[in-house]
Symmetry: C2
Subunit: 346 residues, 2 copies
DNA sequence: TAGCCCCTAGACAACGTTGTCAAATGCCGG
DNA sequence: CCGGCATTTGACAACGTTGTCTAGGGGCTA
């Protein structure tokens, strides 16, 4: 009773195929396919024989071949800045949940804020023929995606709009959130308010700055050039920017931090400062209420962003031929203490 | 000058193939393949014509077909508990970096601590023919992976060992870290120390408990049954467990928290408590030093775990036929204040 | 019992790429 | 001017799956 090596036992590095299963079960190739895919038209007895062969050989369908044949991959890609950033974890998770509920797998990659790497990743995902893409853009020119979108790759941008192409985008209300935050500080009596934000080429940074200026203007307050500092969110840069604003002859009495990394550094700086300074941060973070004083923030709902974007994506994949849309997710001001500190004039 | 629809312009949902490129460039199929893959043996003039056709058609190689033909997918899978957990973000990112440096893509999924979902995800990844897997196991029986491993899917477990199969695993020194944490509390005078940990079926929870017991025993201290509470890390459960230990007739004077979620809840509970209680947590978290008192922790290096695991994976993929190994990454006690509070006896 | 239909099952082509091999071309030396 | 060699190029099969189409067998009706 000798048998060929293939089709009877597992040889390291060689995987059984439907052909092997068919040979072992004594049926045709297509019958195995039917059983594997739960298609009708197979008698219980045949099905049992096939199932046994599958189990015995440890067969697993090769999805590459399936994808090649069917054209759909049941997978979507997510390109974001940095998975290690606490803002993106929940977003990614939310996208994954939606994908899962549609039977799709999520492939993701980090662009590290590098436009070239973003493009490289996106195109690698397209080469894998993902059905759709959720992109948190690092670059500001996405024309390289035109052939992909034309070829039917559903694409949704999140957190920042696409550059130079017309595509779906899901954003937080950065402008409104920032305006509310600064208005909140003004309502508590502040007149000299500093803003430390991210690099101005980033859309969210620009919008938040616009919100800051709008709130100040609405209250009839002037904005001194030294109160605004945009740039890297590296702790050193933020630290010196904050120090400068606080050491001026007429120092700011409140700070509005442009994102969670800035907020955290600002907390450290203010802790060491001799006079209480109010602080409102954009982005919530897990322990904001444990710090003393607890940090008042403008919270954006990362999971909501992700869910919305993925939802939009699958609506496209399910055939809705809607034109590109721009959705805005509202933000929420959460007063916790640090934003309600009264101005202390020197 | 009419041309066929395919091969001249983009029709929605139809992607050009090498055949189309070849037709447009007036060359053979294989020549296109050579150009796309940068293989030698193509004259500059031919190459230019092919490149032009590629650009004109917006051609992108179909990696599904390539994978089917070549057998290798240049992608690895990562299955973890929850991407939204701050511990896993950096781990995932580290794995991705290593994958990237080897030219591989990372596909990941969250198991949500559900063994069935873990298996489902892992097998889906195997069906995609990932070259390797990094798994943070939720279940405790991984025999379902045997055919895959036999078929050559390199597999490395992280954070917790595999169940019932022999496979590579990269762990933190949970036992040693916990022992050190508790010894630290004992050194500061504590004799009644509570331990609140994760569900006992989880390997890390067991190891940390073992470390706790070992440190207590080494100091000749008894352990009252009411001082140990294992179970869900949901805030409610942790809150009531802590409350019970603190309300006893002889209350604990220090708490050792079994992971970051427990620590955070413990901080909230202790903040509301009338008497200072020392606290050491397993897992560092970003703002541990901003809380007052700053939280003393046993830090595990998630990125280091990820890098090590991925490194091991690629060593296997690059052909090293080493037997399964078990690597332990040391932990580090970081005293910040909360763990140095002296016992206050009631 | 013939005729029909339904149900199960398998043969075959196709998906888009790459490896193999052979043909065609051009160049060299004799 | 011819044989031989190197270089460029293309025809063809194969990867493992699924869609289509057809064959065969069994049961039903007339």
């Amino acid at each position: 009773m000798t048998e060929t090596a293939r089709g009877t036992s597992l040889r390291y590095g060689t995987r059984p195929t439907m052909k092997d299963v068919a040979a072992r079960a004594g049926v045709g190739l297509k019958t195995v396919s039917r059983v594997v895919n739960g298609e009708p038209g197979v008698t219980p007895d045949t099905e049992r024989r096939v199932q046994e062969a599958i189990a015995a050989l440890g067969f697993r369908r090769n999805d590459s071949a399936r994808i090649l044949r069917k054209g759909r991959t049941a997978s979507i890609g997510l390109v974001l800045e940095d998975l290690a950033d606490p803002f993106y974890g929940p977003l990614s998770r939310a996208v994954e949940e939606v994908a899962r509920s549609h039977g799709a797998l999520l492939i993701n990659g980090s662009s590290a804020e590098d436009p070239a790497r973003e493009q490289e990743l996106v195109l690698a995902l397209c080469a894998r023929r993902v059905d759709g893409l959720v992109v948190i853009p690092a670059g500001d020119d996405h024309r390289y995606l035109e052939p992909e979108i034309a070829a039917g790759v559903a694409t949704v941008f999140v957190d920042r709009p696409a550059g130079r192409i017309d595509a779906d985008v899901v954003l937080s209300d950065n402008f409104g959130g920032a305006r509310d935050a600064v208005a909140h500080l003004i309502a508590h009596g502040h007149r000299r308010i500093g803003f430390i934000g991210d690099q101005p080429r980033i859309h969210t940074a620009k919008e938040r700055l616009r919100g800051y200026r709008t709130a100040m203007a609405a209250a009839g307050l002037p904005v001194d050039g030294s109160w605004v500092s945009l740039g890297s969110t590296a702790p050193d840069r933020v630290r010196s920017a904050a120090a400068e604003m606080l050491a001026a002859r007429e120092p700011v009495t409140a700070l509005f931090a442009g994102n969670n990394r800035v907020t955290v550094t600002a907390v450290r700086v203010l802790r060491a400062h001799h006079r209480p300074v109010a602080l409102v941060g954009f982005d919530d973070f897990e322990l904001a209420d444990l710090v003393h004083p607890a940090i008042t923030v403008v919270a954006q709902d990362a999971a909501h962003l992700g869910r919305t974007a993925a939802g939009l994506l699958f609506r496209h994949l399910d055939g809705a031929g809607e034109p590109p849309r721009r959705l805005e997710i509202p933000t929420r001001l959460i007063p916790r203490g640090s934003g309600e500190i009264a101005p202390t004039d020197g």
